[in-house]
């Protein structure tokens, strides 16, 4: 071909997943256009506190292995994750850590100068690497610095304060291919099309659907919802993680990382309800360490869904909460204050700043809050090769078969479709990718999945643009009409919102976007978090339909044609309502309990019917809940066979005590 235009890749999102992808792709010689609503350095990933998991030499000598990390992740996720990608991720984890180490991440060190390790939920081995209690921030900065290096060399172009509005897709049915995006500059409000041979969505989670969560303000899930509305499938939406330990606030719930328990923090309430002595005055024998009692093996470090349900049960059903409220103690006061500063300084500061007490001397009061979405855009992968019978820790991923016979395990490095959605050329990395965490994510596995996606599946993107469909039909060669049409469609939506400004209706709560968002958050938190029931979910679906109807005549508060934040927020409310419906409908139809999804009316796991991925497909012609067509796909469980997920609970027969009412996480006392 003569004058073949240079291929380009768009990465939407500059959190850990987006930055890792940008670096890997740019390094491979393909220029990257990086879009983010905030300067990438301020992305939500900076909030991550506790750490990042990987097998390591010390753990290995104690009997741990990459395979065990994989097994824990599958068991933690209650078998809902396809095993190929998880296996590959666990195998690559040590390399991810090494790379971050080379980039200068100040990981905590042992006396001798090696990387220190801490315990984390769902494992009995120390396999979590950390940088104080601001690990996410430190990893982000390392990747941000490398991205800046590529930016300085002209290989990455940043579009910050730029909002992704729509994926540009050419073709129909099976032949659909993503060839660019429409984005809006959040300052000038200009709507523009950008061409690309592949688009990587790395836009994070959707905590704001639940109003208050531990997430940052831009975690609306709006971008994922727009891809979904444009034809990408959304998987396991109902799998929402509620973190056991957060401090409720007026604007968000601030997380107190699992690392607090990893470093020895103990969860307890007074044995006698209504005991209002100061915690320090309550003798050891009169404290109820309910997690340690029920789970002698894992103790305070059971996975999050379990800890959350237990705390919820103690507070809501047994009325044993501290000060008769929805709160329990998370106690670190038995540890040396200096040790706490060194290992957990970041969260100690947050607690002190926002609550006013010093957790080194006073037990923290915490309650569960919405934290993470295991669900996300559905993605594919090409199975790779793996030796399941090899001794733990010895196998090498990505080896060319035949190695010991078995083909079809792990992921095939560089295969074009790894982490690709059902639309060719549209990828999903990081939290917005549903692939790794099944029905519950283990602590410190998210950062890993983000960076693993960026590096490992980044290669897939490069191979796709250089050798796949774009090499035949580069986006740069396509007719301008398609791009113009997409821009006018989006501009039309913007104009309609701007025209909705109406001083006569301004005070009307029914069509106020902020009001609609609050009602959505309250409804979703009440019905779709810790404990769900069919009856309650049916009401939620009605409520969401009502909100969608009100949203149809939403009234914007600002007609400015520049820097109009209300416009961006209002637009995302519409997109969040769509995701909320996917989450609620998925919850209603999954008539079983698995991981974070607990149905009071179906308290058992039902592998027969539901060892399956929920796939939602959007029908633009459908109205209300009818717009979402749910189908179920089998999950691959060839390596780790499903077993009961009890975490050694001592009264394993007595099922989780009967919950009274649907949960209201994050709305403590």
């Amino acid at each position: 071909m003569v004058n073949k235009p240079e291929s380009r890749v768009i990465v939407v999102g500059g959190g850990l997943a987006g930055l890792a992808a940008s670096i890997r792709i740019a390094e491979s010689g393909v220029p990257v256009d990086l879009f983010s609503m905030v300067p990438v350095k301020r992305s939500h990933s900076v909030c991550a506190q506790g750490g990042i998991n990987a097998c390591n030499d010390v753990a290995r000598q104690q009997g741990y292995s990459e395979y065990q990390h994989f097994d824990e992740t599958i068991y933690g996720g209650d078998y809902l994750a396809d095993q190929g990608p998880v296996l590959e991720m666990a195998n690559w984890a040590p390399r991810v850590i090494n790379l971050l180490d080379r980039m200068g991440v100040p990981f905590n060190r042992t006396g001798e100068g090696f990387r220190d390790l801490r315990l984390f939920g769902g494992s009995l081995f120390k396999r979590t690497h950390f940088s104080g209690a601001t690990t996410g921030q430190q990893l982000m900065y390392a990747l941000d610095e490398q991205t800046r290096r590529f930016e300085a060399e002209g290989r990455v172009t940043k579009y910050e304060f730029s909002e992704f509005l729509w994926p540009i897709v050419e073709g129909d049915g099976e032949n659909k291919r993503c060839v660019g995006i429409v984005a809006q500059d959040m300052r000038t409000m200009q709507v523009r099309a950008f061409r690309a041979d592949a688009v990587v969505m790395a836009t994070g989670g959707c905590g704001l659907v639940f109003g208050k969560s531990t997430n940052s303000v831009m975690c609306t899930g709006g971008a994922a919802s727009r891809c979904y509305q444009a034809g990408a499938w959304y998987a396991n939406g109902e799998m929402i993680q509620v973190h056991p330990t957060a401090i409720p606030g007026a604007d968000k719930c601030r997380l107190m990382s699992e690392s607090a328990r990893g470093e020895g923090g103990r969860v307890w309430v007074p044995r006698t309800a209504g005991d209002n002595r100061k915690p320090a005055d309550i003798p050891e024998g009169e404290r109820w360490y309910f997690l340690e009692e029920k789970y002698p093996g894992y103790g305070n470090l059971v996975p999050r869904d379990i800890a959350t349900r237990e705390i919820f049960d103690v507070c809501v059903n047994q009325n044993m909460g501290v000060d008769a409220g929805n709160q329990v103690y998370l106690d670190l006061t038995h540890k040396d204050p200096e040790y706490l500063t060194r290992k957990l300084g970041g969260i100690m500061d947050i607690y002190e700043k926002f609550v006013g007490d010093d957790p080194r001397y006073t037990p923290m009061k915490i309650f569960p809050a919405v934290h993470y979405s295991m669900g996300g855009l559905w993605t594919k992968f090409t199975p790779g090769s793996y030796r399941p019978n090899a001794q733990h820790g010895l196998h090498k991923p990505g080896q060319v078969p035949p190695i010991d016979g078995e083909i079809g395990r792990g992921m095939s490095p560089g295969a074009h479709d790894n982490a690709m959605t059902n639309i060719d050329g549209l990828y999903a990395f990081g939290e917005v990718n549903f692939a790794y965490h099944g029905a519950t994510r283990l602590g410190a596995n998210a950062l890993l999945s983000c960076i693993f996606d960026g590096l490992f599946c980044g290669n897939s993107v490069v191979n796709f643009v250089t050798a796949g469909a774009p090499s035949e039909r580069p986006a740069a060669s396509l007719d301008q009409r398609l791009f113009d049409e997409c821009v006018s469609a989006e501009q039309g939506k913007v104009d309609r919102l701007l025209q909705s400004v109406d001083s006569a209706r301004a005070a009307d709560e029914a069509t106020n976007p902020y009001r609609i968002a609050i009602e959505m958050g309250e409804e979703m938190t009440a019905a779709c978090t810790v404990v769900k029931t069919g009856e309650r979910l049916t009401k939620t679906i009605d409520k969401l339909a009502e909100l969608r109807e009100r949203y149809a005549s939403v009234c914007l508060g600002d007609s400015a044609t520049w820097t109009n934040q209300s416009l961006s927020f209002t637009r995302s409310v519409g997109d969040m309502l769509i995701l909320a419906e996917v989450i609620a409908k998925g919850s209603l139809q999954r008539e079983e309990s698995r991981g974070s999804h607990y149905r009071l009316d179906f308290p058992e796991r039902d592998d027969e019917r539901f060892l399956k991925t929920t796939i939602a497909e959007f029908d633009p012609a459908g109205t209300g809940p009818e717009a979402h067509r749910l189908t179920y796909r089998d999950v691959d469980t060839t390596l780790v066979k499903p077993r009961p997920r009890t975490y050694g609970r001592v009264d394993a027969k007595a099922e989780p005590a009967k919950a009274k009412a649907p949960a209201t996480a994050g709305a403590a006392s």
Binding site: P39, V46, D101, M103, R109, Y141, R187, G249, R254, G557
Partner: protein, 281 residues
């Protein structure tokens, strides 16, 4: 403007104890349609809730933007992200002093009904709108300082250099800088510059000097030490610092900025001397 007051730590603790939820507090907000456009003040009354911070007050105002005089206006524009003081987005000038608005608790600043809190955008960066400013220059300084470790590439190549816990501690403390810009707002030597062509020669800022130190402390990062010192030795570098030490007082992350400035000042001097002798050969 009536004089408003930044409460000391003891006052903040006391205020928190006496503040009652449900009181009405006044926010006096500087509004501005963009850089170079005239600014004006608008007052908003907000009913407090337990644990309320400035951001949640702004959220209430955005939902129903009616001024204290009862006239409907446009929602105030501001920047925020994490809401827990780790992303640096929400920096603004509150009661005359620069800080993060997410960690600014209304009870601590306005314990009595009728108390006033003033919010202004930072003055050292061009206003985008209202309280939102454009801090690109701050990131540009990080490019000048080559604030990165020059790794070979992202493919597996073993672990990084071993490091003592002490060294890790020093680097970690420096690495917590969240690019919030407080140190620049407070610095008398750092003045607003909206022409990005001039950024390479205007004062680089305390944050970037400190980042240069951070990367010079890393075994691989050191490879770029002389480039960094060269940048700090040139126009707008470390010698522009007048040692007023305002920066360190406002840094929310307690970055030892004056220590970094002193260390880099010395390193630049040694670098100059070395260069003088080597260029003579």
């Amino acid at each position: 403007m009536s004089a408003v007051h930044v409460p000391s730590e003891t006052e903040r603790i006391a205020n928190r104890k006496k503040a009652k939820p449900g009181r009405t507090v006044r926010f006096r907000i500087k509004r501005c349609a963009g850089h170079g456009k005239p600014a004006s003040w608008e007052d908003f009354d907000v009913v407090t809730e337990p644990g309320m911070n400035v951001i949640s007050a702004l959220q209430r105002i955005a939902a129903n933007p009616v001024t204290s005089e009862g006239s409907r206006t446009t929602p105030v524009v501001w920047d925020s992200g994490c809401l827990e003081e780790v992303c640096g987005a929400c920096t603004m000038v509150i009661n005359g002093r620069v800080r993060q608005s997410c960690s600014c608790l209304v009870d601590e600043y306005a314990p009595e009904a009728g108390d006033v809190i003033t919010l202004e955008p930072m003055s050292k960066f061009p206003v985008v709108r209202d309280l939102w400013v454009d801090r690109q220059r701050l990131f540009h300084s990080l490019k000048r300082a080559k604030a990165w470790v020059p790794i070979d590439g992202t493919y597996a190549a073993g672990s990084g250099p071993k490091e003592s816990p002490d060294r890790q501690g020093t680097r970690y403390a420096l690495s917590e800088c969240m690019s919030c810009g407080c140190c620049l707002e407070a610095c008398p030597q750092f003045t607003i510059e909206d022409d990005d062509a001039k950024w390479d020669e205007s004062f680089i800022g305390a944050h970037a000097i400190s980042q240069a130190r951070l990367f010079n402390l890393h075994d691989t990062g050191k490879r770029l030490e002389s480039d960094r010192l060269e940048a700090l030795a040139s126009k707008g570098g470390v010698s522009d610092c007048g040692n007023a030490q305002n920066c360190v007082k406002v840094c929310p992350k307690h970055i030892p900025l004056t220590e970094s400035i002193a260390a880099m000042g010395r390193a630049v001097t040694i670098h100059r001397v070395k260069k003088f002798f080597t260029s003579k050969k």
